[in-house]
Structure formats: structure tokens, C-alpha cells
Symmetry: C2
Subunit: 343 residues, 2 copies
Amino acid sequence: MPEAAEARIALDLLDRARGVVDPALRSALETLPGALRRIAMYHFGWEDAEGAPTAGSAGKAIRPALVLAAARALGGDPAGAVSAAVAVELAHNFTLLHDDVIDRDPTRRHRPTAWTVFGTADAIIAGDALFSLALRILAEDPHPASAAAAGRLSTCVIELCAGQQADCAFEERGPQEVTLDECVEMATAKTGALLGCACALGALYAGADLERTEAMDGFGREAGLAFQLIDDLIGIWGDPGRTGKPAGADLAAHKKSLPVVAALCSGTPAGEELAALYRTPLTGPDIRRAADAVERAGAREWAQAQAADRMAGAVQQLSRAVPDPAAAEDLLALAEFVTRRNR
Amino acid sequence: MPEAAEARIALDLLDRARGVVDPALRSALETLPGALRRIAMYHFGWEDAEGAPTAGSAGKAIRPALVLAAARALGGDPAGAVSAAVAVELAHNFTLLHDDVIDRDPTRRHRPTAWTVFGTADAIIAGDALFSLALRILAEDPHPASAAAAGRLSTCVIELCAGQQADCAFEERGPQEVTLDECVEMATAKTGALLGCACALGALYAGADLERTEAMDGFGREAGLAFQLIDDLIGIWGDPGRTGKPAGADLAAHKKSLPVVAALCSGTPAGEELAALYRTPLTGPDIRRAADAVERAGAREWAQAQAADRMAGAVQQLSRAVPDPAAAEDLLALAEFVTRRNR
């Protein structure tokens, strides 16, 4: 299918997911006690810091769209899986609130992060409340798959925690003290696990057996890692599209992203050069030299090839979960959209 | 029953709960990924900061003991409710990890808090992982009550979050800008809710109907508020027993505890005097003056009477949940033990 057509399908799926999930998400947030609700509504972009409604959007709804598309691809009714989609989106936003506190990130979705507006304590507590809400929604959902979904989601969040912990620990280590395997494991836990979980929950809600559910999980995980590799390349060379980080942002922050670690571990002179640069503060011309070093170490090419491999792996897992290519079309469009970032 | 006999029953119940729950809790923690497991084992007092085993204890097991005693009181098999007891204990420790980060508390159970040893990020993440683990254990428990238990526990954690948020918000306000009703609501959410939830989960695991489950919840909540009132009195006048905070600790920290807010809201000259003292740093003689002002405002007596009222309310709820006094004996002993702190 041509890229443009695939992107149209994906945008349409995201729009429709947002349309179905947002009202349920808002209703869920409305049940939170006052102060917590306000922080949550701000974080989702639905209220400003004073509690006045805003026209903002709560992100791209990729995870809810994956839940619904996975349910539909396996013959389930997406309308019956809305609770699962809401739960995954709440869990995702719980991790965003905490990650922003931990990483001291000042902005999220072009707005000041919740902790900068409400303080660290409130952002931690609001994150806790969002995750509790996610699990409450699953516990109260009469769907026969809801308990299994809660088990998968909580197991997934433990993996997300391990990924975030590893990410923080890596920042403390020297430039060549993180192996590529460790870095791939961290990225899989931090990014792949929840995309996999979203697909697996959709499968569970369609009544899929364990084998298909696992294949769905594998599809989301592989696509998630492909996305992370592309995102890491953008963190070095910038975003060809409209949105995203400025070129060099990850290098300036000494971030141990996948291409950087691949370069540092390459055993090449360029890798050594990058390691030396990573031991000093990086500005203007140094950032360009560092980017060049990553490329000369072969790590730009490696990351591009890895992203393609992971997408191929995702497609393979998807064909195991959904043998009928027509039924798999939506999920494939979402995965391509996410990884190519062609929006 | 004489106090000493009741205390013996309670100590025996706590010992037995620890004996049943600790192995299950340890097994659960063993499933956590390496770094998260290490932080958790340190927090529970089972390992030192270097990961070497310690003989430390993980606290008094009051919540697990309440789960098991509530199950037994309603004719259930406590052995079948161990997962619920483990989940409640994990949820409790998740809140402790986050509360210590938020309150910057340096010690917990006479040891440096996890965030002082591993850093704020790791303590936040480890807390998140403990709560995920709690929900995973319930989701994977084949007991027919496990989904309802997960619903109650996650609803309870939202209330705990609201209580902690309110507690932080109160600290930002002036001495006379917190009403007594707000303070009671905060204490109920922060302390009563989880004790109530522990009892309710025991009831659910015994197959109790909604009415008895709610009565059990009410019993734990009322006992929890009685405990908080006693604890707040100790925070001002010190602990008559072996353990606890030094006299005046809460006053030195300008804490808006229940007796303090009762005094500040009393409309008495002593209340005004306390408000003035709370606008200045408090040391030695000022702390004694502040304690005297609380007493002269009638708030020491109020808190003692309130604690007695709440215990009476707890006993009443207990008799609704468990009409047979012999069957209710263990729960009553635990409640008396917790509130009288006669150990």
C-alpha cells in the first residue's frame, strides 16, 4: 500500500480511537477527588493550570488505537474493549507524569510539565492515582478478559519501571560502561512493553488464545523498538517531519540512546572519539562532530537497519496473530505510521 | 478482657501473620527485576544497602493480620487470603516509599529511607513497581474474590493519594486555613482507608456480602482514625511506650495534626496563641508552650474523646459485620492493640 494511503488509514484510526476513548477517559478522570482530578486534567491538556477548559489534545492515542485495532483484527468488538484502551492510556500517562518528575523535563506536548506547575509531590501523587484508576477500571469491567488484562498490564508496568530504572542508571555510568544488549533491553522495556501490552489487551478482549495474544504482544514490542530506534535517530539528526526534537538534542544531553551506545560499543576509532566527546560538555560544533562520529562508527546505518529488522519482525508476529492480511491492515498502518512518523 | 491478655492475642496474631505473609511477600519480591528487587528488599529491611541479607523486620504486619483475621472472623480460610494480605502490604509499602520521597523523611523503621540510599528516582520507581506487583498478585490469584479485591484496593489507593495530596496542601496553608472537617477527611483517607480496605478484603475472601464487607471496611476505618488521633497525641506529648516519636516532634515540624487543627479552630485564646506560635520557628520552650496551648484549647481532651468515640464506632461496625463476639475477638484485639499501642 502507498505510504500516503497507509498514513490516511492510521490518522483515521487515531481520530476514531480518540473519539471513542476520550469521553470514557474524561468520565474516569471526573471520578478522581478534586485536586487529583485537576492535575490529571491539566496533564491531559484538557484544562489549564487554573482549571479552565482548554481546546488542547491529550496526545496521539496510539496505544488506545492499538487496543481497539487489535480487538477488531481478531474478530472482537472494539466498543467492548474501550475500558482496556482507557486503562492502557491511563497507565501510559502515569508513567509520563513520573518520568517527567524523574528526568526533570520542563515540557511535555509543548506545555509546561505537571511537576513544574503543581510541584513534584502533586505530580507523583497524581501519577499514582492515574495508575490506580487504570486498574480500578479493569477490575470493575465485567468483560471476561478484564482480570487477565489487569494481570498483563500490571506485569507490563513492572517492566516499564525496570526500563526507566535502567535508563536512569545508565546516565550515571561512563560513556563505555553500557553494553548494546543492556541498552536494547532497556528500550524494549521502556517503549516496547506497553505497545505490546496494548495489542495483547486488544487480543484478550477479542477472546484470543495465549499464542495469538503473545504474537500480538510481540508485534507491538517489535514495532515499539523500531519506533524507539527512529526516535533516537531523530534525537541526533532531527525530525524530517513537522514535530519532534531539534537535531542534536540527545547528544547535547549526553543521552545514551541506541545509536549512541552502538557507536560507543563499536570498537572503532569513531566510537573512541564519541566517548571522548561524551566526557565533556557538548555545544554547537561538538554536537556536529559527535553526530558525525556516530555515523562514522556505522551506528546510524546500524540503527536504520535494526529499525527495518524490527519492523520485519513486527510484521511476522502480526501475521502469526492475524493470518488474514485484510484483517491485519489497520494494525500494520498504525505500526508504519508510528515508526515512519509520516504524519 | 484484660488489656494484657488482649495484647498477647494481638502480638500472637501479628506474629502468625508475619509467619504466613513474609514468605509469600519475599517470593513476590523475588520476581522483580534486579535493581527494583534490591530497592524493595532494602525498604522491607531484608537486605542492607549493599544487598547483603539482614535480620531486620518489615514492620508490624498490622494490615496483613487484619486481612487474615477478617477472613477468619467471617468463616473464611485465612490460608486462602494470603495473596490479599500480601497485596495490601505491598500497596502500603508503595505509599510509604512515595510518602518518604514527598515528605523528605530521612528515616523509616530506624533505618535511612530508600530515597536517601538509592536516590529519589529509584524510590519513586520502586514504589510504582510494588503497587504493580500488588495488583498483579490479585489479578493472578484464582480466588473468586480477587477481582473485587483489586477493585477495592485500587479505589482505596486513589483515596490514599487524595489524603496524601491534602496533607501536603495543608502544609502550604496558614495556621488557621485548614478546617477540622478537612483534617478529619484527610486523616480518614490517609490512615483509615487502607485499614478499612484490609478488613474488607478479608471479608471478600470469606465470601461475605456487600453489607458485611462495608461494615468490615467501616470497622477498619474507624479504628484507623482512632489510631491516628492517638498517634497525633503522641506526636505532641510523646509515647508512653517504648517506641515512637519524641515529645513535641509534630509541633516542631508545624504539623497540622488533628489535635493541632482542633486547637487552631477552637476559637479560644489558647487557639490564637497556638496560631501565633505556628507562624514562627519552634524550639525548646516554645514547643512546650505550644503543647500547653493545644491542651488549654481543649484539643487534647477532644482528641482523647474522639479516639474513644471512633473506637466505639469501630466496635459497633464490627458487631454488624461479625455478630458473634467470640468470632470478633481477634479483630477487636488487633484494633485495641493498634490504638492503645500497648505493646
